[in-house]
C-alpha cells in the first residue's frame, strides 16, 4: 500500500472523532490537526510499527498576520523506515498563543520549540526548558512576527554592563 494511503487509513481508523485534514502539494504530504490533539497524534505517528516517524527534522511557525488563526505551527518529521517526510500543521490563535509541547515524543523538539518560541512567542505547554534560543532573555519582542520591523526597534537590545 502507498505510504500516503497508509497514513490516511491509520489516522482515520485510530482517531475517528478527530478532525484531520489531508492535503498534498508538489508531492509533499501534509496533515492538519487541531492543536488539542497534536501530542496524541505525534506520539502515534512515532510509535506506530508501520510508520515510525522517529526523526523530528524541524519545528517552526508561520505568521499569517491577517488571518483569524494568526499562527500555524509546522512540524516536519521523517520516517527512516519508509524514507518519507510528513508535514503536520496546527493552527494557533493569538488570543490563546499556546500549543502542547512534543518534547516527550522527540528530544530534538526541545531546541526546535525554543527557537519557535523565541521568534514567534508561541508558548509550548509542558516544555521542560522554555527559554529564548537566540535573543537575550530580557528582550521583549518576537522578531519573526510580521509586526516587528525589519530594522529592529531602537533601544530594545540592552548593551552589556560595564
Amino acid at each position: 500500500m502507498n505510504i500516503k494511503e497508509l497514513i490516511k487509513n491509520k489516522l482515520t481508523n485510530n482517531f475517528p472523532n478527530y478532525q484531520i485534514e489531508f492535503s498534498e502539494y508538489l508531492d509533499e504530504f501534509c496533515i492538519k490537526v487541531n492543536k488539542e490533539n497534536i501530542l496524541e497524534i505525534c506520539s502515534f505517528l512515532k510509535n506506530d510499527e508501520d510508520l515510525k516517524f522517529i526523526l523530528s527534522e524541524d519545528i517552526t511557525a508561520v505568521d499569517w498576520a491577517t488571518r483569524k488563526n494568526r499562527f500555524t505551527v509546522v512540524y516536519h518529521i521523517y520516517s527512516l523506515k519508509n524514507n518519507f517526510r510528513l508535514k503536520i500543521k496546527s493552527d494557533v490563535d493569538e488570543s490563546d498563543c499556546s500549543i502542547d509541547s512534543v518534547t516527550s515524543v522527540w528530544g530534538a523538539a526541545n531546541w526546535q520549540e525554543r527557537e519557535c518560541y523565541d521568534m514567534y512567542g508561541i508558548i509550548f505547554n509542558h516544555h521542560p526548558d522554555l527559554r529564548r534560543m537566540y535573543m537575550p532573555e530580557e528582550f521583549e519582542y518576537y522578531p519573526l512576527r510580521k509586526d516587528f520591523p525589519l530594522m529592529g526597534i531602537p533601544g530594545s537590545l540592552p548593551l552589556p554592563k560595564k
Binding site: D58, G107, A108, Y134
Partner: protein, 416 residues
C-alpha cells in the same frame, strides 16, 4: 575559561544548569563550580558559549548558549527577492558556501516549478561534493588542532586551498561564492576548471593518506578520542542529529541515498557508517566520506554532458547579460525579475539536501509575491549541537573541546 559569580549568569540558565543530573562520581568533591566556556574561545569553533557545571574536573551538566552570531537571516529573507538571497546563503555555513547555494536554489526551483538542465545539475553535484571535501578538511584539521596535533591543520588547509583555487576559476570568488542561479549556474564550468578538478581529485587520495597517517598512528590522538562522547543510535535520532555524526553511530541515513536529488541516483557511492559512535568514529566517517566524495566527483566528470547551463524560462530565469544589452524582450524580463521577483505560485515546500554537516533544508512559503512570505532554515549544526549536553556529561573538562570538535558545529549556520 573563567569562573563565574552567580549574579553574572541569567537566572534561567542557572536553573537549567543546576537541574538534577544523572551523573554520579565515585568520590565526589562536594564542591561544584560553574565555568564559562566561550563565546571567545579558540576551541568552540566560532562563538559558541557553553556553561559547564563541574565537580572537580568532571562535567556534571552543560548548557550551550546560542545567538552570539544571530543576524536574523530568516527575517531578511522575508524582505528580499529569491535572487537577492543567494549571497546570504554563503554566510550560513561559511565553510561550505557552495552547498548552501545549491540547497537554496533547489528549494526555490521546486517552489517555482523550474526544470534545470542536466549539465547544470552535474555541475551542482560537483561543487556540492567539493564543498563537502573542503568542509571535512577544515573539520578534521581544526579537530586535530583542538586535541593537540597542529601539523594536520596546515596540511588539510593546504588541500582546501586547492579547492578555493578551483572556486576562483569557476566563479571568480574564493570564499563566498554565490555560484548557483535560479534555473542553473552562473557560469559554465570551463575546461581549465574541469582540468583542475581532475588534477585535484587525482592527487587528493595520496595527500589525504598522508594526513591520515599523521593521526591514525598518533597515540595521543587516538587515546584522547576513543570512547569519548559516545552517542548511541537511538539517542542520536531522538536528538535530531544528522550527517556524519549520525552515521558514526551506525544509522545509514544519507539524503543523497534516501531521497535522491540532482542526479545522485545515477552515481555509485557508499554511505559510510561506523558503529562505535564515539569521537574517533566521527573522525573516521569524515575521512572516508571525503574519499567517497572524490569518487563521486570523478564519476561526475565522466558523465557530465554538454549543453545548456540555464533553464529556458524567460519569465523566471534571468537572461544572459549580452542579450539584455542587445534585445528588447530580454531587457524587459530582466527588469521585471530584478524589480518584482519571480512570483512563484501560492504554496509551501520543504526541500533538504545532504549538506556537509547534515540535513540542510529550506522551508519556503509563497503567497505569490516576489519575496517569500516565510523562509525557515533547517540547519544541521543547530540540531547537532543539541546533542552536546548529552555527550559531555560525565567526561573531563578537556574532553569537552574534543567533543565540540567532533560534532563540527559552524556557528554561522547554527545561529542564522
Amino acid at each position: 575559561m573563567e569562573k563565574l559569580r552567580k549574579e553574572d549568569v541569567n537566572p534561567k540558565i542557572v536553573e537549567a544548569l543546576l537541574r538534577d543530573t544523572d551523573i554520579t562520581i565515585d568520590d565526589a568533591l562536594d564542591n561544584e563550580m560553574i565555568l564559562n566556556m566561550g563565546p571567545q574561545h579558540p576551541a568552540t569553533h566560532g562563538v559558541l558559549r557553553v556553561l559547564l557545571r563541574l565537580d572537580g574536573e568532571t562535567v556534571m551538566n552543560a548548557v550551550p548558549e546560542l545567538g552570539y552570531l544571530h543576524r536574523g537571516y530568516e527575517k531578511m529573507a522575508e524582505n528580499m527577492s529569491y535572487y537577492e538571497y543567494i549571497p546570504h546563503t554563503d554566510r550560513l555555513d561559511y565553510i561550505s558556501p557552495m552547498a548552501n547555494n545549491v540547497a537554496w536554489v533547489m528549494a526555490v526551483e521546486k517552489l517555482a516549478g523550474i526544470e534545470v538542465p542536466v549539465r547544470a545539475q552535474y555541475i551542482r553535484m560537483m561543487v556540492a561534493e567539493l564543498a563537502r571535501i573542503a568542509s571535512h578538511l577544515v573539520a578534521i584539521g581544526a579537530f586535530a588542532m583542538d586535541v593537540g596535533a597542529l601539523t594536520v591543520f596546515l596540511w588539510t588547509l593546504r588541500e582546501r586551498e586547492k579547492i578555493l583555487d578551483i572556486w576562483d576559476i569557476l566563479c571568480g570568488a574564493r570564499f563566498t561564492n554565490s555560484y548557483t542561479r535560479i534555473g542553473g549556474v552562473a557560469n559554465d564550468a570551463q575546461p581549465d576548471a574541469l582540468a583542475k578538478v581532475k588534477w585535484f581529485i587525482d592527487q587528493f587520495d595520496d595527500n589525504l593518506t598522508e594526513c591520515e597517517k599523521l593521526l591514525n598512528s598518533n597515540r595521543i590522538f587516538i587515546e584522547r578520542l576513543e570512547n569519548i562522547g559516545i552517542l548511541p543510535a537511538e539517542v542520536a535520532l531522538d536528538l535530531g542529529v544528522t550527517g556524519p555524526s549520525l552515521r558514526a553511530s551506525g544509522v545509514e541515513f544519507d539524503l543523497r541515498r534516501a531521497t535522491p536529488y540532482l542526479q545522485y541516483d545515477k552515481i555509485d557511492f557508499n554511505v559510510i557508517t561506523y558503529t562505535e559512535g564515539d569521537s574517533l568514529a566521527r573522525y573516521f566517517v569524515r575521512v572516508d566520506e571525503m574519499r567517497e566524495s572524490a569518487k563521486i566527483v570523478r564519476q561526475v566528470l565522466d558523465k557530465m554532458p554538454a549543453g545548456e547551463i540555464m533553464a529556458n524560462m524567460p519569465k523566471k530565469v534571468l537572461p544572459k547579460k549580452t542579450e539584455i544589452y542587445t534585445r528588447m524582450e530580454e531587457l524587459i524580463h530582466d527588469f521585471m525579475i530584478v524589480n518584482f521577483g519571480i512570483n512563484p505560485p501560492v504554496g509551501e515546500i520543504y526541500h533538504a539536501i545532504e549538506g556537509s554537516k547534515g540535513e540542510l533544508g529550506f522551508y519556503l512559503v509563497s503567497k505569490g509575491e516576489g519575496h517569500p512570505w516565510k523562509c525557515k532554515i533547517r540547519s544541521p549544526s543547530f540540531n547537532n549541537l543539541q546533542a552536546l549536553p548529552y555527550l559531555v556529561k560525565g567526561h573531563m573538562i578537556s574532553d569537552v573541546v574534543a567533543i565540540i570538535g567532533s560534532i563540527d558545529p559552524i556557528m554561522g549556520e547554527a545561529d542564522k
